[in-house]
Symmetry: C2
Subunit: 249 residues, 2 copies
Amino acid sequence: MTPAIDASPHHQRLIRKLESICDLGPTEVRALAALPMYLKDVAENADLVSQGEAPVESCLVVEGFVCRYQLLKGGGRQIFSFHLPGDIPDLQSLHLHVMDHSITALTPTRVAMIPHAALQDLIRDHPVVAAAFWRDTLVESAVYRAWLAGIGRRTARARIAHLLCEVYLRARSLGLTRGRRFDLPITQPELGDSLGLSAVHVNRVLQELRREELITSEGRYINILDWHGLKRAGEFDASYLHIMRDPAD
Amino acid sequence: MTPAIDASPHHQRLIRKLESICDLGPTEVRALAALPMYLKDVAENADLVSQGEAPVESCLVVEGFVCRYQLLKGGGRQIFSFHLPGDIPDLQSLHLHVMDHSITALTPTRVAMIPHAALQDLIRDHPVVAAAFWRDTLVESAVYRAWLAGIGRRTARARIAHLLCEVYLRARSLGLTRGRRFDLPITQPELGDSLGLSAVHVNRVLQELRREELITSEGRYINILDWHGLKRAGEFDASYLHIMRDPAD
DNA sequence: CGTGTTATTGACCAACATCAAACTTAGTGG
DNA sequence: CCACTAAGTTTGATGTTGGTCAATAACACG
Protein backbone atom coordinates (compact mmCIF):
# COMPACT_ATOMS: atom_id res chain seq x y z
CA MET A 1 0.00 0.00 0.00
CA THR A 2 2.72 2.46 0.96
CA PRO A 3 4.32 3.28 -2.37
CA ALA A 4 7.95 2.21 -2.65
CA ILE A 5 8.63 5.34 -4.63
CA ASP A 6 9.68 8.42 -2.75
CA ALA A 7 7.07 11.05 -3.27
CA SER A 8 6.52 14.31 -1.45
CA PRO A 9 3.91 14.36 1.33
CA HIS A 10 1.42 16.17 -0.89
CA HIS A 11 1.86 13.66 -3.69
CA GLN A 12 1.38 10.93 -1.09
CA ARG A 13 -1.92 12.51 -0.03
CA LEU A 14 -3.22 12.34 -3.57
CA ILE A 15 -2.05 8.77 -4.04
CA ARG A 16 -3.59 7.69 -0.77
CA LYS A 17 -6.87 9.28 -1.68
CA LEU A 18 -7.03 7.59 -5.08
CA GLU A 19 -6.06 4.26 -3.52
CA SER A 20 -8.99 4.61 -1.15
CA ILE A 21 -11.36 4.45 -4.11
CA CYS A 22 -9.55 2.27 -6.67
CA ASP A 23 -6.53 0.09 -7.44
CA LEU A 24 -3.39 1.73 -8.74
CA GLY A 25 -0.39 -0.11 -10.17
CA PRO A 26 3.23 0.94 -9.70
CA THR A 27 3.22 2.69 -13.08
CA GLU A 28 0.32 4.88 -12.08
CA VAL A 29 1.80 5.64 -8.67
CA ARG A 30 5.03 6.68 -10.33
CA ALA A 31 3.21 8.92 -12.77
CA LEU A 32 1.22 10.55 -9.97
CA ALA A 33 4.37 11.06 -7.92
CA ALA A 34 5.90 12.91 -10.86
CA LEU A 35 2.99 15.32 -11.24
CA PRO A 36 4.24 18.91 -11.16
CA MET A 37 2.66 20.98 -8.42
CA TYR A 38 3.49 23.92 -6.21
CA LEU A 39 2.28 24.60 -2.70
CA LYS A 40 0.15 27.54 -1.70
CA ASP A 41 -1.19 28.51 1.71
CA VAL A 42 -4.69 29.85 1.92
CA ALA A 43 -6.17 31.77 4.82
CA GLU A 44 -9.39 30.78 6.53
CA ASN A 45 -12.44 31.97 4.60
CA ALA A 46 -10.46 32.77 1.48
CA ASP A 47 -11.79 31.42 -1.81
CA LEU A 48 -9.58 28.92 -3.63
CA VAL A 49 -11.63 29.45 -6.77
CA SER A 50 -14.60 31.71 -7.32
CA GLN A 51 -17.77 31.37 -9.32
CA GLY A 52 -17.33 32.66 -12.86
CA GLU A 53 -13.60 32.00 -13.06
CA ALA A 54 -12.07 29.63 -15.60
CA PRO A 55 -9.05 28.18 -13.79
CA VAL A 56 -6.09 26.73 -15.70
CA GLU A 57 -4.89 24.70 -12.75
CA SER A 58 -6.63 22.57 -10.16
CA CYS A 59 -5.96 22.52 -6.45
CA LEU A 60 -5.17 19.45 -4.41
CA VAL A 61 -6.02 19.90 -0.74
CA VAL A 62 -2.95 18.97 1.30
CA GLU A 63 -4.00 20.14 4.74
CA GLY A 64 -7.15 21.78 5.98
CA PHE A 65 -10.87 21.62 5.39
CA VAL A 66 -12.49 23.03 2.28
CA CYS A 67 -16.03 23.44 0.99
CA ARG A 68 -17.84 24.05 -2.26
CA TYR A 69 -20.66 26.57 -2.06
CA GLN A 70 -22.85 29.03 -3.83
CA LEU A 71 -24.39 32.30 -2.68
CA LEU A 72 -28.01 32.69 -3.66
CA LYS A 73 -29.99 35.76 -4.54
CA GLY A 74 -31.68 36.65 -1.31
CA GLY A 75 -28.59 36.20 0.80
CA GLY A 76 -28.70 32.47 1.47
CA ARG A 77 -25.77 30.14 1.02
CA GLN A 78 -25.78 26.49 0.03
CA ILE A 79 -22.74 24.35 0.75
CA PHE A 80 -22.55 21.43 -1.69
CA SER A 81 -19.65 19.40 -0.36
CA PHE A 82 -16.78 19.25 2.06
CA HIS A 83 -13.27 18.29 1.02
CA LEU A 84 -10.48 16.66 2.98
CA PRO A 85 -6.77 16.33 2.27
CA GLY A 86 -6.23 14.32 -0.91
CA ASP A 87 -9.28 15.73 -2.67
CA ILE A 88 -9.06 17.86 -5.80
CA PRO A 89 -12.25 19.84 -5.37
CA ASP A 90 -12.05 21.63 -8.70
CA LEU A 91 -10.95 18.70 -10.81
CA GLN A 92 -14.13 19.24 -12.79
CA SER A 93 -12.80 22.52 -14.15
CA LEU A 94 -10.75 20.32 -16.47
CA HIS A 95 -13.94 19.77 -18.48
CA LEU A 96 -16.41 22.41 -17.27
CA HIS A 97 -14.35 25.47 -17.88
CA VAL A 98 -16.27 28.19 -16.11
CA MET A 99 -17.00 27.57 -12.44
CA ASP A 100 -20.69 27.60 -11.54
CA HIS A 101 -19.86 27.83 -7.82
CA SER A 102 -16.99 28.74 -5.49
CA ILE A 103 -14.58 26.80 -3.33
CA THR A 104 -13.40 28.19 -0.05
CA ALA A 105 -11.12 27.26 2.84
CA LEU A 106 -12.99 26.68 6.10
CA THR A 107 -9.71 26.48 8.01
CA PRO A 108 -6.23 27.71 7.21
CA THR A 109 -5.43 25.41 4.33
CA ARG A 110 -2.48 24.27 2.29
CA VAL A 111 -3.14 23.35 -1.31
CA ALA A 112 -0.95 22.11 -4.14
CA MET A 113 -1.74 23.66 -7.50
CA ILE A 114 -1.52 21.36 -10.52
CA PRO A 115 -1.59 22.78 -14.06
CA HIS A 116 -4.43 21.47 -16.18
CA ALA A 117 -1.93 20.71 -18.93
CA ALA A 118 -0.10 18.30 -16.62
CA LEU A 119 -3.36 16.61 -15.66
CA GLN A 120 -4.35 16.32 -19.32
CA ASP A 121 -1.02 14.68 -20.14
CA LEU A 122 -1.37 12.33 -17.19
CA ILE A 123 -4.84 11.30 -18.26
CA ARG A 124 -3.81 10.82 -21.87
CA ASP A 125 -0.89 8.57 -20.97
CA HIS A 126 -2.47 6.65 -18.08
CA PRO A 127 -5.96 5.34 -18.69
CA VAL A 128 -6.03 3.84 -15.20
CA VAL A 129 -5.50 7.27 -13.68
CA ALA A 130 -8.08 8.75 -16.01
CA ALA A 131 -10.55 6.14 -14.80
CA ALA A 132 -9.62 6.88 -11.18
CA PHE A 133 -10.29 10.59 -11.61
CA TRP A 134 -13.53 9.96 -13.42
CA ARG A 135 -14.52 7.53 -10.72
CA ASP A 136 -13.70 10.13 -8.09
CA THR A 137 -16.06 12.64 -9.69
CA LEU A 138 -18.71 9.91 -9.86
CA VAL A 139 -18.36 9.21 -6.16
CA GLU A 140 -18.84 12.91 -5.63
CA SER A 141 -22.10 12.62 -7.57
CA ALA A 142 -23.16 9.79 -5.30
CA VAL A 143 -22.51 12.04 -2.30
CA TYR A 144 -24.65 14.76 -3.87
CA ARG A 145 -27.45 12.24 -4.23
CA ALA A 146 -27.13 11.25 -0.59
CA TRP A 147 -27.36 14.90 0.43
CA LEU A 148 -30.36 15.42 -1.86
CA ALA A 149 -32.17 12.52 -0.26
CA GLY A 150 -31.37 13.94 3.16
CA ILE A 151 -32.40 17.52 2.52
CA GLY A 152 -35.41 16.48 0.48
CA ARG A 153 -36.84 13.75 2.61
CA ARG A 154 -35.20 13.37 6.01
CA THR A 155 -35.64 15.15 9.33
CA ALA A 156 -33.04 17.56 10.62
CA ARG A 157 -31.90 14.93 13.12
CA ALA A 158 -31.32 12.31 10.42
CA ARG A 159 -29.56 14.77 8.15
CA ILE A 160 -27.10 15.81 10.79
CA ALA A 161 -26.43 12.25 11.93
CA HIS A 162 -25.93 11.23 8.31
CA LEU A 163 -23.42 13.97 7.68
CA LEU A 164 -21.45 13.04 10.77
CA CYS A 165 -21.30 9.42 9.62
CA GLU A 166 -20.19 10.46 6.16
CA VAL A 167 -17.40 12.80 7.19
CA TYR A 168 -16.20 10.31 9.78
CA LEU A 169 -15.89 7.48 7.25
CA ARG A 170 -14.26 9.62 4.62
CA ALA A 171 -11.74 10.91 7.13
CA ARG A 172 -11.10 7.37 8.34
CA SER A 173 -10.43 6.07 4.84
CA LEU A 174 -7.72 8.70 4.59
CA GLY A 175 -6.22 7.83 7.96
CA LEU A 176 -7.30 11.11 9.56
CA THR A 177 -9.20 9.71 12.55
CA ARG A 178 -8.14 8.58 16.00
CA GLY A 179 -10.48 5.82 17.03
CA ARG A 180 -14.01 7.17 16.95
CA ARG A 181 -12.80 10.72 17.15
CA PHE A 182 -12.40 13.09 14.23
CA ASP A 183 -11.86 16.71 13.41
CA LEU A 184 -14.89 18.60 12.14
CA PRO A 185 -13.66 22.17 11.97
CA ILE A 186 -16.92 23.75 10.90
CA THR A 187 -19.30 26.06 12.68
CA GLN A 188 -22.97 25.45 13.24
CA PRO A 189 -23.97 28.11 10.68
CA GLU A 190 -21.82 26.24 8.15
CA LEU A 191 -23.45 22.95 9.06
CA GLY A 192 -26.80 24.61 8.56
CA ASP A 193 -25.82 25.92 5.13
CA SER A 194 -24.84 22.44 4.05
CA LEU A 195 -28.00 20.76 5.32
CA GLY A 196 -30.60 23.38 4.49
CA LEU A 197 -31.18 24.23 8.16
CA SER A 198 -30.87 27.30 10.32
CA ALA A 199 -27.94 27.56 12.69
CA VAL A 200 -30.33 27.65 15.63
CA HIS A 201 -31.96 24.41 14.68
CA VAL A 202 -28.60 22.73 14.08
CA ASN A 203 -27.65 23.72 17.58
CA ARG A 204 -30.78 22.19 19.09
CA VAL A 205 -30.41 18.94 17.21
CA LEU A 206 -26.74 18.61 18.14
CA GLN A 207 -27.73 19.01 21.76
CA GLU A 208 -30.29 16.28 21.28
CA LEU A 209 -27.68 13.93 19.78
CA ARG A 210 -25.40 14.63 22.74
CA ARG A 211 -28.21 14.13 25.23
CA GLU A 212 -28.93 10.76 23.64
CA GLU A 213 -25.24 9.93 24.03
CA LEU A 214 -24.66 9.29 20.35
CA ILE A 215 -21.81 11.79 20.19
CA THR A 216 -19.80 14.20 22.28
CA SER A 217 -17.95 17.20 20.98
CA GLU A 218 -14.93 19.00 22.34
CA GLY A 219 -14.22 22.12 20.36
CA ARG A 220 -13.74 21.12 16.75
CA TYR A 221 -13.59 17.44 17.53
CA ILE A 222 -16.48 15.03 17.34
CA ASN A 223 -16.41 11.81 19.30
CA ILE A 224 -18.79 9.10 18.22
CA LEU A 225 -20.02 7.29 21.31
CA ASP A 226 -22.53 5.03 19.62
CA TRP A 227 -21.66 4.32 16.01
CA HIS A 228 -24.58 2.03 15.36
CA GLY A 229 -26.98 4.38 17.02
CA LEU A 230 -25.68 7.26 14.94
CA LYS A 231 -25.98 5.25 11.73
CA ARG A 232 -29.52 4.34 12.65
CA ALA A 233 -30.39 7.94 13.44
CA GLY A 234 -29.02 9.01 10.05
CA GLU A 235 -30.43 6.06 8.08
CA PHE A 236 -26.83 5.73 7.00
CA ASP A 237 -25.62 3.11 4.52
CA ALA A 238 -21.98 3.61 3.58
CA SER A 239 -22.10 1.88 0.22
CA TYR A 240 -22.67 5.12 -1.69
CA LEU A 241 -19.19 6.30 -0.67
CA HIS A 242 -17.68 3.44 -2.69
CA ILE A 243 -14.70 3.24 -0.37
CA MET A 244 -12.50 0.31 -1.38
CA ARG A 245 -9.79 0.39 1.23
CA ASP A 246 -10.42 1.54 4.77
CA PRO A 247 -7.67 1.23 7.36
CA ALA A 248 -10.47 1.16 10.00
CA ASP A 249 -7.74 2.46 12.35
CA MET B 1 -24.21 19.54 -37.39
CA THR B 2 -26.26 16.75 -38.95
CA PRO B 3 -23.77 13.95 -39.34
CA ALA B 4 -23.07 12.99 -42.92
CA ILE B 5 -22.81 9.39 -41.82
CA ASP B 6 -25.91 7.29 -41.87
CA ALA B 7 -26.65 6.24 -38.34
CA SER B 8 -29.78 4.72 -36.87
CA PRO B 9 -32.22 7.07 -35.13
CA HIS B 10 -31.06 5.89 -31.71
CA HIS B 11 -27.43 6.47 -32.56
CA GLN B 12 -28.44 9.91 -33.82
CA ARG B 13 -30.07 10.67 -30.48
CA LEU B 14 -26.84 9.93 -28.65
CA ILE B 15 -24.78 11.96 -31.09
CA ARG B 16 -27.15 14.89 -30.87
CA LYS B 17 -27.03 14.80 -27.09
CA LEU B 18 -23.24 14.79 -26.97
CA GLU B 19 -23.07 17.57 -29.53
CA SER B 20 -25.29 19.67 -27.30
CA ILE B 21 -22.57 19.67 -24.65
CA CYS B 22 -19.31 19.43 -26.64
CA ASP B 23 -17.64 19.39 -30.06
CA LEU B 24 -17.32 16.09 -31.89
CA GLY B 25 -15.23 15.52 -35.01
CA PRO B 26 -16.19 13.21 -37.88
CA THR B 27 -14.02 10.43 -36.41
CA GLU B 28 -15.90 10.50 -33.14
CA VAL B 29 -19.28 10.67 -34.85
CA ARG B 30 -18.33 7.63 -36.92
CA ALA B 31 -17.20 5.71 -33.85
CA LEU B 32 -20.41 6.56 -32.01
CA ALA B 33 -22.50 5.55 -35.00
CA ALA B 34 -20.79 2.16 -34.95
CA LEU B 35 -21.55 1.49 -31.30
CA PRO B 36 -23.32 -1.85 -30.92
CA MET B 37 -26.69 -1.57 -29.21
CA TYR B 38 -30.01 -3.33 -29.17
CA LEU B 39 -33.43 -1.84 -28.53
CA LYS B 40 -35.64 -2.70 -25.63
CA ASP B 41 -39.08 -1.40 -24.73
CA VAL B 42 -39.84 -0.72 -21.13
CA ALA B 43 -43.28 -0.29 -19.61
CA GLU B 44 -44.29 2.72 -17.55
CA ASN B 45 -43.08 2.42 -13.96
CA ALA B 46 -40.74 -0.46 -14.71
CA ASP B 47 -37.17 -0.17 -13.43
CA LEU B 48 -34.43 -0.04 -16.04
CA VAL B 49 -31.88 -0.78 -13.37
CA SER B 50 -32.40 -1.39 -9.68
CA GLN B 51 -30.44 -0.47 -6.60
CA GLY B 52 -27.92 -3.16 -5.72
CA GLU B 53 -27.47 -4.46 -9.24
CA ALA B 54 -24.14 -4.42 -11.08
CA PRO B 55 -25.12 -3.95 -14.71
CA VAL B 56 -22.79 -5.00 -17.55
CA GLU B 57 -24.47 -2.74 -20.07
CA SER B 58 -25.74 0.81 -19.98
CA CYS B 59 -29.00 2.09 -21.37
CA LEU B 60 -29.40 4.96 -23.77
CA VAL B 61 -32.84 6.54 -23.59
CA VAL B 62 -34.25 6.67 -27.11
CA GLU B 63 -37.83 7.69 -26.41
CA GLY B 64 -39.65 8.43 -23.19
CA PHE B 65 -38.99 10.03 -19.86
CA VAL B 66 -36.87 8.40 -17.18
CA CYS B 67 -35.88 9.21 -13.62
CA ARG B 68 -33.26 8.21 -11.09
CA TYR B 69 -34.58 7.67 -7.57
CA GLN B 70 -34.14 6.02 -4.24
CA LEU B 71 -36.66 4.68 -1.76
CA LEU B 72 -35.94 5.68 1.82
CA LYS B 73 -36.58 3.85 5.04
CA GLY B 74 -39.81 5.32 6.24
CA GLY B 75 -41.50 5.09 2.87
CA GLY B 76 -40.35 8.33 1.26
CA ARG B 77 -38.91 8.56 -2.20
CA GLN B 78 -36.34 11.00 -3.53
CA ILE B 79 -35.99 11.53 -7.26
CA PHE B 80 -32.48 12.70 -8.15
CA SER B 81 -32.75 13.47 -11.83
CA PHE B 82 -34.86 13.25 -14.95
CA HIS B 83 -33.54 11.93 -18.23
CA LEU B 84 -34.55 12.71 -21.77
CA PRO B 85 -33.82 10.93 -25.05
CA GLY B 86 -30.08 10.89 -25.72
CA ASP B 87 -29.14 10.51 -22.06
CA ILE B 88 -27.37 7.44 -20.73
CA PRO B 89 -28.62 7.57 -17.15
CA ASP B 90 -26.52 4.67 -15.88
CA LEU B 91 -23.30 5.57 -17.65
CA GLN B 92 -21.75 5.82 -14.20
CA SER B 93 -22.10 2.06 -13.71
CA LEU B 94 -19.06 1.84 -15.97
CA HIS B 95 -16.99 2.93 -12.96
CA LEU B 96 -19.25 2.54 -9.93
CA HIS B 97 -20.15 -1.06 -10.34
CA VAL B 98 -22.98 -1.52 -7.87
CA MET B 99 -25.92 0.83 -8.24
CA ASP B 100 -26.68 2.92 -5.15
CA HIS B 101 -30.08 3.89 -6.56
CA SER B 102 -32.60 2.81 -9.20
CA ILE B 103 -33.64 4.11 -12.60
CA THR B 104 -37.21 3.83 -13.73
CA ALA B 105 -39.37 4.71 -16.73
CA LEU B 106 -41.93 7.40 -16.00
CA THR B 107 -43.58 6.82 -19.37
CA PRO B 108 -43.51 3.89 -21.77
CA THR B 109 -39.90 4.10 -22.85
CA ARG B 110 -37.60 2.75 -25.51
CA VAL B 111 -33.98 2.27 -24.56
CA ALA B 112 -30.93 1.03 -26.42
CA MET B 113 -28.68 -1.23 -24.39
CA ILE B 114 -24.92 -0.80 -24.93
CA PRO B 115 -22.47 -3.36 -23.52
CA HIS B 116 -19.94 -1.89 -21.13
CA ALA B 117 -17.20 -3.62 -23.08
CA ALA B 118 -18.13 -1.64 -26.19
CA LEU B 119 -18.15 1.60 -24.22
CA GLN B 120 -14.75 0.78 -22.71
CA ASP B 121 -13.31 0.14 -26.18
CA LEU B 122 -14.82 3.35 -27.47
CA ILE B 123 -13.36 5.34 -24.60
CA ARG B 124 -9.95 3.74 -24.96
CA ASP B 125 -9.73 4.49 -28.67
CA HIS B 126 -11.38 7.91 -28.68
CA PRO B 127 -10.17 10.33 -26.02
CA VAL B 128 -12.55 12.98 -27.31
CA VAL B 129 -15.51 10.69 -26.67
CA ALA B 130 -14.10 9.77 -23.27
CA ALA B 131 -13.91 13.46 -22.44
CA ALA B 132 -17.46 13.97 -23.71
CA PHE B 133 -18.81 11.22 -21.47
CA TRP B 134 -16.88 12.48 -18.48
CA ARG B 135 -18.12 15.96 -19.20
CA ASP B 136 -21.66 14.66 -19.38
CA THR B 137 -21.39 13.14 -15.91
CA LEU B 138 -19.91 16.44 -14.67
CA VAL B 139 -22.87 18.37 -16.04
CA GLU B 140 -25.07 15.94 -14.18
CA SER B 141 -23.17 16.87 -11.02
CA ALA B 142 -23.84 20.52 -11.75
CA VAL B 143 -27.53 19.72 -12.00
CA TYR B 144 -27.40 17.95 -8.64
CA ARG B 145 -25.87 21.06 -7.15
CA ALA B 146 -28.62 23.21 -8.60
CA TRP B 147 -31.23 20.93 -7.07
CA LEU B 148 -29.41 20.95 -3.74
CA ALA B 149 -29.44 24.74 -3.69
CA GLY B 150 -33.14 24.70 -4.50
CA ILE B 151 -34.23 22.11 -1.97
CA GLY B 152 -31.91 23.48 0.68
CA ARG B 153 -32.50 27.17 0.36
CA ARG B 154 -35.34 28.11 -1.96
CA THR B 155 -39.09 28.34 -1.52
CA ALA B 156 -41.40 25.78 -3.08
CA ARG B 157 -42.40 28.30 -5.71
CA ALA B 158 -38.80 28.97 -6.76
CA ARG B 159 -37.96 25.26 -6.79
CA ILE B 160 -40.83 24.41 -9.10
CA ALA B 161 -40.17 27.35 -11.41
CA HIS B 162 -36.50 26.40 -11.51
CA LEU B 163 -37.25 22.82 -12.45
CA LEU B 164 -39.59 23.92 -15.23
CA CYS B 165 -36.89 26.18 -16.65
CA GLU B 166 -34.33 23.39 -16.46
CA VAL B 167 -36.37 20.71 -18.17
CA TYR B 168 -37.52 23.17 -20.81
CA LEU B 169 -33.97 24.18 -21.73
CA ARG B 170 -32.66 20.64 -21.72
CA ALA B 171 -35.51 19.51 -23.94
CA ARG B 172 -34.95 22.46 -26.23
CA SER B 173 -31.24 21.69 -26.63
CA LEU B 174 -32.30 18.27 -27.89
CA GLY B 175 -34.89 19.67 -30.27
CA LEU B 176 -37.81 18.30 -28.27
CA THR B 177 -39.78 21.52 -27.80
CA ARG B 178 -42.31 23.36 -29.95
CA GLY B 179 -41.89 27.04 -29.24
CA ARG B 180 -42.38 27.61 -25.55
CA ARG B 181 -44.25 24.34 -25.17
CA PHE B 182 -42.79 21.09 -23.92
CA ASP B 183 -43.77 17.68 -22.70
CA LEU B 184 -43.49 17.10 -18.97
CA PRO B 185 -45.03 13.67 -18.53
CA ILE B 186 -44.78 13.51 -14.75
CA THR B 187 -47.40 13.57 -12.05
CA GLN B 188 -47.55 16.02 -9.19
CA PRO B 189 -46.51 13.36 -6.65
CA GLU B 190 -43.44 12.73 -8.81
CA LEU B 191 -42.68 16.44 -8.96
CA GLY B 192 -42.96 16.51 -5.19
CA ASP B 193 -40.57 13.59 -4.79
CA SER B 194 -38.00 15.38 -6.88
CA LEU B 195 -38.29 18.71 -5.08
CA GLY B 196 -38.73 17.55 -1.51
CA LEU B 197 -42.36 18.69 -1.41
CA SER B 198 -45.72 17.05 -0.85
CA ALA B 199 -48.00 16.47 -3.81
CA VAL B 200 -50.59 18.76 -2.25
CA HIS B 201 -48.22 21.65 -2.01
CA VAL B 202 -46.95 21.11 -5.55
CA ASN B 203 -50.53 21.37 -6.70
CA ARG B 204 -51.08 24.66 -4.90
CA VAL B 205 -47.89 26.22 -6.20
CA LEU B 206 -48.63 25.14 -9.77
CA GLN B 207 -52.01 26.82 -9.49
CA GLU B 208 -50.27 29.94 -8.27
CA LEU B 209 -47.88 29.91 -11.25
CA ARG B 210 -50.85 29.55 -13.57
CA ARG B 211 -52.77 32.30 -11.81
CA GLU B 212 -49.77 34.59 -12.26
CA GLU B 213 -49.80 33.68 -15.96
CA LEU B 214 -46.25 32.37 -15.97
CA ILE B 215 -47.32 29.01 -17.40
CA THR B 216 -50.32 27.07 -18.61
CA SER B 217 -50.61 23.33 -18.71
CA GLU B 218 -52.68 21.07 -20.91
CA GLY B 219 -52.41 17.49 -19.82
CA ARG B 220 -48.76 16.52 -19.89
CA TYR B 221 -47.74 19.66 -21.73
CA ILE B 222 -46.39 22.79 -20.16
CA ASN B 223 -46.60 26.09 -21.96
CA ILE B 224 -44.36 28.86 -20.78
CA LEU B 225 -46.23 32.14 -21.12
CA ASP B 226 -43.65 34.37 -19.49
CA TRP B 227 -40.14 32.99 -19.80
CA HIS B 228 -38.45 35.88 -18.05
CA GLY B 229 -40.99 35.86 -15.28
CA LEU B 230 -40.51 32.15 -14.79
CA LYS B 231 -36.74 32.51 -14.71
CA ARG B 232 -37.08 35.27 -12.16
CA ALA B 233 -39.43 33.20 -10.05
CA GLY B 234 -36.96 30.30 -10.11
CA GLU B 235 -33.83 32.44 -9.68
CA PHE B 236 -32.76 30.56 -12.76
CA ASP B 237 -29.37 30.99 -14.41
CA ALA B 238 -28.81 28.50 -17.21
CA SER B 239 -25.03 28.50 -17.14
CA TYR B 240 -24.86 25.44 -14.88
CA LEU B 241 -26.35 23.32 -17.67
CA HIS B 242 -23.25 24.00 -19.78
CA ILE B 243 -25.26 23.73 -23.00
CA MET B 244 -23.03 24.54 -25.95
CA ARG B 245 -25.41 24.31 -28.84
CA ASP B 246 -29.05 25.20 -28.53
CA PRO B 247 -31.23 25.24 -31.63
CA ALA B 248 -33.51 27.71 -29.75
CA ASP B 249 -36.24 26.39 -32.08
C1' DC C 1 -69.57 2.19 -17.63
C1' DG C 2 -66.73 0.82 -13.60
C1' DT C 3 -62.19 1.37 -11.50
C1' DG C 4 -58.00 3.17 -10.32
C1' DT C 5 -54.89 6.95 -10.65
C1' DT C 6 -54.36 11.99 -10.53
C1' DA C 7 -55.83 16.68 -9.42
C1' DT C 8 -58.01 19.74 -6.34
C1' DT C 9 -59.87 21.67 -1.98
C1' DG C 10 -60.26 22.51 2.97
C1' DA C 11 -59.08 22.02 7.84
C1' DC C 12 -55.60 21.40 10.91
C1' DC C 13 -50.84 20.72 12.46
C1' DA C 14 -45.69 20.38 13.09
C1' DA C 15 -41.07 21.03 11.93
C1' DC C 16 -38.25 24.30 11.47
C1' DA C 17 -37.34 29.51 10.67
C1' DT C 18 -36.80 33.98 12.54
C1' DC C 19 -35.77 37.31 15.94
C1' DA C 20 -33.50 38.79 19.86
C1' DA C 21 -30.73 38.47 23.71
C1' DA C 22 -27.31 36.37 26.82
C1' DC C 23 -23.42 33.73 27.27
C1' DT C 24 -18.96 31.58 25.89
C1' DT C 25 -14.70 31.34 23.48
C1' DA C 26 -10.78 32.65 20.96
C1' DG C 27 -8.01 36.03 19.40
C1' DT C 28 -5.74 40.76 19.73
C1' DG C 29 -3.26 44.41 21.26
C1' DG C 30 -1.78 47.24 25.05
C1' DC D 1 -1.92 39.23 31.86
C1' DC D 2 -5.97 41.63 31.16
C1' DA D 3 -9.44 44.34 28.78
C1' DC D 4 -11.69 44.44 24.38
C1' DT D 5 -13.74 42.55 20.33
C1' DA D 6 -15.74 39.48 17.10
C1' DA D 7 -17.47 35.18 16.24
C1' DG D 8 -19.82 31.23 17.63
C1' DT D 9 -23.09 28.89 20.84
C1' DT D 10 -27.09 28.64 23.53
C1' DT D 11 -31.80 29.86 25.04
C1' DG D 12 -36.58 31.52 24.72
C1' DA D 13 -40.58 33.38 22.35
C1' DT D 14 -43.06 33.63 18.31
C1' DG D 15 -44.15 32.97 13.30
C1' DT D 16 -44.71 30.53 8.84
C1' DT D 17 -43.91 27.41 5.21
C1' DG D 18 -45.27 23.48 3.90
C1' DG D 19 -46.92 18.63 5.72
C1' DT D 20 -50.79 15.49 6.80
C1' DC D 21 -55.35 13.85 6.56
C1' DA D 22 -59.48 13.30 4.32
C1' DA D 23 -62.86 14.04 1.02
C1' DT D 24 -64.35 15.25 -3.67
C1' DA D 25 -63.80 15.93 -8.55
C1' DA D 26 -61.59 14.82 -13.08
C1' DC D 27 -59.70 11.77 -16.04
C1' DA D 28 -57.83 7.69 -18.43
C1' DC D 29 -58.25 3.14 -19.59
C1' DG D 30 -60.01 -1.39 -20.26
